[in-house]
Amino acid sequence: MLDFMLAAVVAAFLNIGLLLVTIGTYIQNMRVIRSYYTSGLVLVAALLMIQNIVIVIFWFTLYMDDKVLMMSADMVAHYLFAINVIQTVGLSVLVWITRR
């Protein structure tokens, strides 16, 4: 059976990678065009990245602490998996548009 929690974290790492690519592009553009628009894009991407980093930290904390918590976390893991995978699909589209 698929370990949803692990899959969710893999998706979170993927998201971080995709966001790194977008942030890289946005920063390159921000260096040339200084405006609220370019800095806004960088800010949005950075906030999304913080979100995914927090998800990874969340996962680590859950599995380090205690078994009871881990079991209840596994019960809802498919929700976290769905959230992250949907985000991965969305970010992939964004990266595809951005890097064209």
Binding site: T25, N29, V32, I33, S35, T38, L41, I97, T98, R99
Partner: protein, 162 residues
């Protein structure tokens, strides 16, 4: 738009709708929550949003004729994609005189393939149009782009001389 203006706008709309008889009866408004009907003018919001959601984009309080939705698209294509700056430069170059890809590449000191790629993206997004002939076809700004040239000028200004 200041808070006060928003408030005025809202109240004006409410009173107008009241007068035009949109509500069942004006006495309904202001009745207690536990009463029969409390009419709240939610239907007014789409109108407000479509008018003012992107008003922050304009520095001139909507004085110019540019389309805010188009402005958003142009900003994204230029500031939100790889090589967007070169796209802005191409648009700025063919603004006055239509040019073919070869000439654009020479003037901007870019690779011919890069220019072709950029121009293809630009024409896919309906920012430039290609002339009819196949070999050495010239590119010029599309109609909507010509209409909203001010937006381009604004962005090019921010690029500066780099």
């Amino acid at each position: 738009m200041s808070c006060l203006e928003v408030l005025k706008y809202l109240t004006r709309n409410v009173s107008e709708t009241l007068q035009s008889g949109f509500f069942i009866s004006s006495t309904n408004v202001g009745q207690s929550v536990f009463g029969t009907t409390v009419v709240f003018p939610i239907f007014l919001f789409p109108e407000i949003i479509s008018r003012n959601l992107f008003s922050f984009l304009g520095t001139d309080n909507g004085q110019s004729q540019t389309d805010p939705r188009f402005k958003m698209i142009l900003w994204f294509i230029i500031a939100g994609t790889r090589g967007g700056v070169n796209r802005a430069k191409i648009l700025n170059l063919i603004k006055d005189t239509p040019m073919n890809a070869n000439k654009i590449a020479k003037v901007l000191n870019l690779d011919h393939k890069t220019v072709i790629h950029h121009v293809q993206i630009l024409s896919k997004n309906d920012l430039v149009v290609k002339a009819q002939k196949d070999y050495g076809a010239e590119y010029k700004l599309s109609q909507i782009m010509q209409k909203n040239q001010k937006v381009l000028e604004e962005i090019v200004e921010k690029i500066g001389t780099k």
